[in-house]
């Protein structure tokens, strides 16, 4: 196959000691960035970008993409240990990762998260290797109607997830949508719900909300009850990797499902964060152990991590072939490509063969190097839990404050983070589920824009969503998923009543 020989040549370019050293450096930086909320991959890439101008483009992009891999790996660490999502896409990892840590299975959760990240990434890279041109063409088919359909599908896959009463779930979700609408309306350019306060121009940022709701909220709960980490006293066992890997084969279905979801969301581009939610939502619904999700189920860590990493990786494809970045980090990388004199777009694969295949080869290598690095550090990460809580608690508050500040360089966000912290505590006490709220906050804005763009294009005709096979089938799938809980309930009743009747 043509791709294989090109790839082999790419490995030839990428696999030098110099490049591997750059990878190690990039991944280390990336993990640090991933661990700290507020420092995104975009920061690291933007800061290292200038000093890559003296390198050749292949080495430069290897170092920069390594930051990206590191950040994808690193986001899971604080999510699992402290319930603080280090990156937006690790929010869904907290749902089961943190309960696992509380039960003394932090090392398993970490190994599971890292391994599934790796699997997701490799799946996505394989897709890029063999299907790049076809996939790029497919991505062009996505107009506003199709974008809305994908966002609708993400939401539908998550409906009926919360454990609260339906009314509290609904209220919580609506609050997320309402918060998402604050700020400048992209379609008409008018300001909404800002009431003349300049601080509100920017709206409520997803990351500020999750740092408060999850991070600070968790600190409050832990302070109230005392720290319930049974893991703190558990002996650190060095066999965590083997122990966890033994459990993974039975999650084959979840891996495949999340890989597909992730690649789909990365290419279209829906983004890694919605992908992780969708991966989690689908796994909860279709896995045999789905009813246990939220209580510390390894599969609940595997599902979102696989999807997030697959999406994060495949997001590089539209950047290379179309010049549209699938994430802020990719946007900064895109700027870098331009400065090196590489024009992303349809011709990149033709004109810059050496660079493209070197990059693809480095994606394989970067992930392998990254996995080895983070796996060896698992005992170290897990050991953080043994630090007394009266040291950890204020340090977490400080990290959260820095994280909230850096999102927009605004003190107002730090105050908002504290407010969200109180809200997170109250909501978890009163049974208002948080996942619908954060999902609405991250998707609400985009979904509304796509919907209204689609309405502009169709002149206000709602049937546009079923006007072609692509958006039509996604929407139909979404409707089916949305009513799935209802259907399942009916089926269960039917299934139970029949034997009784017979």
């Amino acid at each position: 196959m043509e791709e294989l020989s090109a790839l082999a040549e790419g490995f030839g370019h990428a696999l030098t000691w110099y490049n591997v050293a750059l990878m190690v450096l990039g991944i280390t930086l990336g993990v640090v960035i991933g661990v700290l909320p507020g420092l995104g991959g975009a920061n690291g890439v933007a800061i290292l970008l200038p000093l890559t101008f003296s390198m050749n483009p292949t080495s430069a992009i290897i170092m920069l993409t390594s930051i990206y891999w590191g950040a994808l790996f690193g986001g899971a660490i604080t999510a699992i240990l402290f319930n603080i999502p280090g990156e937006p896409w690790s929010v869904a990892t907290t749902f089961d990762g943190h309960p696992m840590a509380q039960r003394g299975r932090a090392d398993e959760a970490l190994v599971g998260a890292f391994t599934s990240s790796f699997v997701g990434a490799i799946f996505a890279v394989a897709l890029i290797t063999f299907l790049a041109p076809a996939v790029a063409k497919f991505a062009l088919k996505f107009g506003p109607a199709e974008f809305f359909a994908v966002q609708f599908l993400t939401f539908a896959s998550f409906l009926g997830m919360g454990r609260g009463t339906p009314w509290k779930t609904l209220a919580s979700m609506c609050l997320g949508f309402a918060l998402a609408s604050v700020g400048l309306d992209g379609v008409t350019g008018s300001l909404r719900m800002t009431f003349g306060y300049d601080e509100l121009l920017n709206g409520f940022k997803f990351l500020v909300a999750v740092i408060g709701l999850f991070g600070i909220g968790e600190i409050l709960t832990s302070m109230e009850d005392g720290l319930k980490f049974s893991g703190a006293d558990a002996k650190l066992r060095m066999d965590a990797v083997i122990r966890t890997w033994k459990q993974l084969p039975r999650m084959f279905g979840t891996f495949i499902r999340s890989c597909i979801v992730g690649c789909w969301m990365g290419i279209t581009p829906g983004g890694a964060t919605p992908a992780s939610f969708m991966g989690y939502g689908l796994a909860k619904r279709f896995s045999k152990r789905g009813h246990n999700f939220g209580k510390g189920e390894l599969e609940g860590v595997v599902a979102p991590e696989t999807a997030a990493h697959a999406a994060g990786t495949s997001a590089l494809l539209p950047m290379l072939t179309l010049g549209i970045p699938g994430s802020p980090t990719a946007a900064v990388l895109l700027g870098g490509l331009l400065i090196w004199g590489l024009q992303p777009g349809p011709l990149l694969f033709v004109e810059q063969k050496e660079f493209v295949w070197g990059l693809i080869a480095s994606m394989y290598l970067g992930n392998v190097v990254g996995l080895i690095m983070v796996l060896t550090c698992v005992p170290l990460f897990a050991a953080i839990l043994r630090v007394p809580f009266s040291i950890v608690a204020p340090v977490i508050v400080v990290i959260c404050a820095i994280g909230a500040y850096t999102v927009n360089n605004s003190m107002f966000d730090v105050w908002m983070m504290l407010a969200f912290g109180v809200m997170g505590y109250l909501f978890s006490k009163l049974g208002y589920p948080l996942p619908p709220l954060v999902l609405a906050l991250v998707l609400g804005d985009q979904a509304e824009s796509s919907f209204r763009q689609a309405m502009l294009v169709s002149q206000g005709d709602v049937t546009v969503f079923w006007s072609n096979w692509l958006s039509g089938s996604i929407m139909t799938l979404g409707v089916i998923l949305a009513f799935w809980p209802l259907a399942q309930g009916l089926m269960n009743r039917f299934g139970r009543s029949r034997p009784a009747a017979a």
Binding site: Y18, L25, A42, A46, I47, L48, L49, P50, L51, T52, F53, S54, M55, A139, L140, K141, F142, G143, P144, G183, L184, D185, G186, V187, T188, G189, S190, L191, T194, D198, L201, N202, G203, P318, L322, G323, I324, P325, P328, A331, V332, L334, G335, L338, I339, G341, Q343, P344, G345, P346, L347, L348, N408, N409, S449, Q453, L456, V457, Q459
Partner: protein, 339 residues
């Protein structure tokens, strides 16, 4: 070369400690005493962001400043966030901002209280062009063909994609509508220029007024076709971009019967109370940036109009541009509170 980049990395990571910072001659009256922040009143990945990060790269590569330059995106509220921060830090000369047309359109469109006079103009770096693009598979070869088709078609049948709402792309669209015999476009706002170009390739919209740099890849790939450039003269770049055409081969819109001119400011401002010395310092640094070969290459790639101005000439230009935007936006009904 490898040794050098390793050293830079080491230095960058602070491993080589703060000892080697002494260098650089004290030629100028004022030097920054702490890191300078360059604010981008837009999101990551757009035209302003690309230029700002490029300037940062050039400054660091050629060591044009003694203190680091930090780039920060503050794009909230169509850039209002970034401009308000400049206004609020009038006494801090360690802040500069790169502007785009939202310098004029955002205060008019949203009613946010700021004006370019709340800042001190330093230098106009270039003017960014706008080009009318259609999908290459469409039959329209000239702007005249396209406008006739819009005239002949149904009202709102043609879809113009653009970045944001009530901003430069929509202003141009409204200006074009004056030439289409009362037929309107359906204007579809997207959140970035790159996305608009891709939507045009995918056939979801019929035309766009992308900046050259946003659509050049698709032009070279044979997916988009430029119809005309919104400038009074053709571009001066004559090196071939595609196999057959150079930027200079694109006719002006006036040549094609569409008498519209519009360019976007790419300029640098500092804070209001900066002293002449401080302004002169930034001017000097930017002048050196513009002398580098990298800058020239960047200008050509994006087909920028290399007009550059400083001082009172620049201020006169800004005053005229502000009046023009007010006129255009009032005409289009985009001014906040006017409805």
């Amino acid at each position: 070369m490898r040794m050098k980049s390793w050293k830079t990395i080491a230095k960058r990571l602070g491993l080589a400690a703060g000892l080697g910072v002494l260098a650089s001659a004290p030629a100028l009256a004022w030097e920054p005493t702490k890191p300078v922040t360059l604010i981008i009143p837009a999101g990551t990945g757009g035209g302003a962001d690309q230029m700002a990060r490029f300037i940062q790269g050039v400054i660091q590569k050629h060591e044009l400043m003694s203190k680091p330059l930090i780039v920060v995106n503050k794009g909230g509220g169509a850039g209002a966030e970034g401009f308000l921060e400049m206004k609020a830090s009038a006494n801090d000369p360690h802040k500069i901002v790169i502007t785009l047309s939202n310098l004029f359109t955002t205060p008019l469109g949203t009613g946010t209280p700021f004006n370019w006079k709340d800042m001190k103009p330093v230098k106009m770096m270039a003017l960014d062009q706008f080009i009318l693009w259609v999908n290459a598979s469409e039959p329209y070869k000239t702007a005249g063909d396209y406008i006739s088709a819009v005239k002949a078609g149904e009202d709102r049948a043609f879809k113009m994609g653009g970045t944001g709402s009530k901003q430069e792309d929509q202003i141009i669209t409204v200006a074009i509508e004056k030439e289409t015999g009362g037929k309107k476009f359906t204007y579809v706002p997207y959140d970035g220029g790159g996305k608009v170009a891709v939507q045009l390739v995918g056939g979801h919209i019929t035309s766009s007024v992308n900046n050259p740099i946003e659509a050049v890849a698709q032009w070279r790939g044979g997916q988009l076709r430029p119809l005309c450039i919104f400038d009074k003269a053709r571009s001066t770049y004559t090196a071939k971009v595609t196999e057959a055409q150079a930027w200079g081969d694109i006719p002006t819109c006036a040549e094609s019967g569409l008498p519209i001119e519009y360019q976007m400011l790419r300029g640098i401002f500092t804070t209001k109370n900066a002293t002449p010395d401080q302004v002169a310092y930034y001017e000097g640094v930017l002048k050196k940036v513009m002398e580098t070969p990298e800058w020239k290459e960047f200008m050509e790639k994006g087909a920028f109009n290399q007009t550059t101005m400083t001082g009172s000439e620049f201020e006169a230009w800004l005053t005229a541009a502000e009046a023009r935007h007010r006129e255009l936006m009032t005409g289009a009904g985009f001014v906040a509170g006017a409805k």
